[in-house]
């Protein structure tokens, strides 16, 4: 099978997530990166593209049109720009009939999100959102367990995403745009809170109808939330909590999910990402590993640690299958609905926090 021709918007030299997407795209051999608009600075765009041996564009609109016109043009594009720069390229490539693989969250504003949704509705091309953590094998197994009823009725859900790297007013390229309301839209809530939101939804198959939020800016002078505590209510009566923080000193990347049902509970933590703790009501906790996984989302035998990059690669491989016409795993690949749900979560949480924690409906 020939690799799918891939383009990239953003991800010039020094970028973080662009390099991740490139490794993920080549890990399983399903994609070949051939073109890019890697930077809004034309010189830098060209230099970065040369380093990678790509056709270079200084403008993503030009790129979308030119690639669509080429016989050997890209079939899919990865968008790895800051949040406020997702919508414009996404719309351009969707209109050009080119599949879009977009980093999360969907956009910086509800308006931008709506633009993407509109373009997607009118395009024959597909839209994917890289909520990579939900592509890890033990997360997929967790979802399977819930879906088959192994937990019974779900009563309690607790999702956390704790980081400490923004506990100071440190300056870095990564920190810069993430703490700028104009470019990020939301702080901890958007950057990592949406991951926790999507993870909880992916595993439980349920979405909260109402949230009550308390957003804080713990670092003096910071114009955006760096700590978000959100209480969740589900239509079923299930209660939950979501806590996202970037000022939790000492936490490197503390994503975790706990779900308690009437029959069993499960716990998953990113820092032991290849273990899933499943505890039946009347028995010992079971430490599930990939030996128990039924998704097949890995490359090595159990006990050979895989992780973050492989999670991204799982998504790219699933996307490749879809692009090649195989939709059998499409339901586990995050897409527009996840993005819109995340945007609705951000909007409701902000509104609730502004109203001192009043319960606000999530309008997905």
């Amino acid at each position: 099978m020939k690799p799918i021709r891939l383009g990239m918007v953003g991800g010039g030299s020094g970028a973080f997530i662009g390099a991740i997407h490139r490794i993920a795209a080549r890990m399983d051999g399903h994609f070949q990166l051939v073109a890019g608009a890697l930077s809004s600075d034309p010189t830098r765009a060209q230099a970065s593209a040369d380093e990678l041996g790509l056709r270079s564009y200084s403008d993503f609109n030009d790129m979308a049109q030119a690639e669509a016109a080429r016989e050997d043009g890209i079939q899919a594009v990865s968008i790895v720009t800051p949040n406020h720069m997702h919508a414009a390229p996404a719309v351009a490539f969707l209109r050009a009939g080119i599949h879009v693989i977009c980093d999360k969250p969907l956009a910086a504003t509800p308006e931008q999100a709506a633009q993407i949704a509109g373009a997607a509705a009118e395009s024959r091309a597909r839209f994917f959102l890289t909520h990579n953590y939900s592509a890890l094998p033990m997360v997929r197994e967790a979802r399977a367990l819930v879906a088959e009823g192994a937990l019974g009725d779900i009563r309690l859900v607790q999702a956390e995403y704790l980081q400490g790297w923004l506990s100071d007013d440190a300056q870095s390229k990564q920190a810069d745009w993430r703490t700028d309301p104009a470019r990020a839209g939301a702080g901890a809530l958007g950057d990592i809170g949406t991951h926790a939101w999507q993870l909880a939804g992916f595993v439980t198959g349920m979405t909260p109808s109402h949230v009550s939020a308390d957003l804080s800016s713990m670092v003096p002078g910071r114009p955006i939330d760096d700590d978000a505590r959100v209480a969740l209510r589900y239509p079923s009566g299930t209660k939950g909590g979501l806590w996202a923080s970037q000022v939790a000193v000492g936490q490197e990347n503390g994503l975790s999910l706990r779900v308690f049902g009437t029959k069993a509970a499960l716990e998953w933590r990113l820092d032991t990402s290849e273990r899933l703790v499943f505890t039946p009501k009347d028995g010992p906790a079971q430490i599930m590993t990939r030996a128990q996984d039924r998704s097949g989302s890995f490359r090595t035998p159990p006990g050979h640690p895989e992780g973050y990059l492989e999670g991204f690669a799982n998504l790219y491989s699933d996307v490749a299958a879809i692009i090649r016409g195989d939709d059998s795993n499409a339901d586990r690949v995050p897409g527009l609905a996840d993005g819109l749900s995340g945007m609705a979560f951000i909007a409701a949480a902000k509104q609730s926090s502004d109203r001192d924690g009043a319960w606000v409906e999530v309008m997905a």
Copy 2:
């Protein structure tokens, strides 16, 4: 040094916490149990007392008067009855000039709490409340670290107490009164939530000024809360969360505390009670053990596991020292103020939950 003569109210055969108090009282040899009103059922009271070789009373008021009149009467009494039966004996013994060691929470209602407070104010006898978890060595070390500024300014506090044993409508003596509003006053909130509240306050030295709560009765037909999610706000701007649940399937006794400051973080969990994880902002996490403890609250070298009973025994030993006139460690022994604070927490959380999560001031 001669053992302190101790009495007990409650704790007849089949009782749980009474047996715990008796082991704790004799572990370090500071107390000798000599008298008791072990049950409201006179026959059972006598039988239980006979088994333990105690002077038996069928009424705690008689006991308070008789013991106060004897030359060799009890010097202290342990009250280990259900919550609604704390106040009457506590008042009786305080009035008789006999020190009171009372199980938590302070009482089932604010009125009962006020009665104890009134009696304590007029008595020369002391009042102690057995929040045993805060007497464990690594918790005491955690408190010392916060007090000396090792964490910097505290930004985030998260306390959890998760159990699964009431996830069904099972019947047992222990479950029975704990799910009866008249006898317990509050459910998860009172039985375990007050432990988490006291633990967070003990370690951080701070008390939230406002709470926003969502109380649930997850088991159909249960007339009392079995899950309590409470958001916390401190006068300093610190934010926090407290989650107490008795329907968290698979959780045996999951008490934990996490505190994040500007300079460091700490995490303690009851299921690894002899480890304290201290993570400075710019260095590896440190797994502190009793080798680092400075409270001396143990009997064996590090690596020889101690736990629950020893925590109770630490309290009894501290109480013995106070009764014998040594107040040097009195500040680490929970007492009336802790009890009243717990009652204020329960009241505020209930009020907030009734008002759909509105922020309510904690009137301690």
Copy 3:
């Protein structure tokens, strides 16, 4: 039921293991300590006895005779002296018809061990050896799992007991006699190696027939072993290893056991003493807790940490039952056979190490 009258030899002020035995004896209320020969120094013996309110003896032979003659004399005695002082008092009390509870290892020399064995054979009194770790609930459950065949045929056994406290030539009362060949008999091998040996035997129900050992004195000038590596061969073809070290820097009290069979494996570690990891060949690891224990060897519900002192107390409670005529649990209480097995292990390991690791038969 009236407490059993208990005496003690050794355990004067400043002693470690004597205080442990006293707490264990009183924890469950089955014993009352009434007499002692607490020190070979008469003044110190008297002072220590006064502090504890005991009848004091300056000589254990006098004590054995006097107590045997009294109507209210002791029924059992705890021997908590250094290894070389076990045999003489054990023989004296056994001859006087008083039950003996002796700390491990059995003795400092094979000759002393034989004296105890001889006296025990001629006495109607019982002899118990406090291998306390095998009295912890999850260890007892491990043994039950092996006994019922849950592991299939056992192939591999690995026992470790690692400490770091003797990594220097530090001076202390505890270190002093333990590194003196005349008083200790053996170093790491005897002090902790015999614990690991007994633990492995207790759980697996099997004893190695041959050992190959490499004993070292890692601290320059130390006249006794402080590190012992022993390979084990069982009659069944099972292979094993035992590693005991007192120079494993950073290890507080690292006792552990791993057993691999044809059908399942189990792992137990003292630092997580209330968990037993059971891994069937074709399924996830199960984290067993006291909720799965079938020995009933505890005082609190699962999740309320118990440990070292409670293990000792389990032994004292079992011993009390035996003294009172109930032998139903006698097979789980270590006694003379365990002591002689430990002595045979020491002798065989020393001989093997002297012969550069030649395989030596264990002559139990």
Copy 4:
């Protein structure tokens, strides 16, 4: 920088380690796979090569000559055949001046190893051995800590590699040649024991001079060792142990290393591969992560789990640098000396086991 042109011998469809090498080679973009002799079966070789888009050869000798003659011929070759088929292709490519990246162990027999050594000595091409675990960041950091003296003098070394997958006489392509003495040379000892041996040597910088071994075939009828217990003695007086087993039921891939020095200890386990526990003699254990790593051997920030594939990719990236002329990290890349050391270990362990555990010198 243009990718290095890479060939492969072995690794046809269905192979395990060949696919791993391919992912590792492309992960960081330093290699492009262009040619292969993927199977000894010509039809299968061609089919596998077609699938990967490679120039296909049915014979590795032809391949070596043809590629050496091409202007655009391969610059390096990966050898991923069973052990007994390492030497012949390695010699062929070394003679052709093509760099060799060979899977471990070096060979099935000492004679084969000597052939490789001879060819390497006469070739200008380099020889690399993929002991991938020593390329993980925390292992490299462990080595740096030892090298800078953070542990003081090393006293004790314990390496383990435990797997359970061969606990039955199950048939599979992977199991087949690994349990055939002719193709594997050694069983657990060679397949995983050499990994543990290299890991211990890499981290400590020391090699044992003598071993005493006990090799077993636990599965009835198996003609090769599946459990190897080896005691180690170092010239410095350091003692150690190495345990490799393929019948340790429930163990997926349990590689671990513990090192105890006079000043500190360290512990690393593959199942928590991104943590290194460093315990100074007088302080709490420190949980080091990539935040403390100084090797830079990773692609993502701390907290984003990397693992097995990335370890392989670290080696491929280091090899790429060396091929391109940068030897600054050559000392951390395993090569011929490691391979010969592993062979000497196997030979000495077999000889010792045949002589009932006699201490045998390791003739490296």
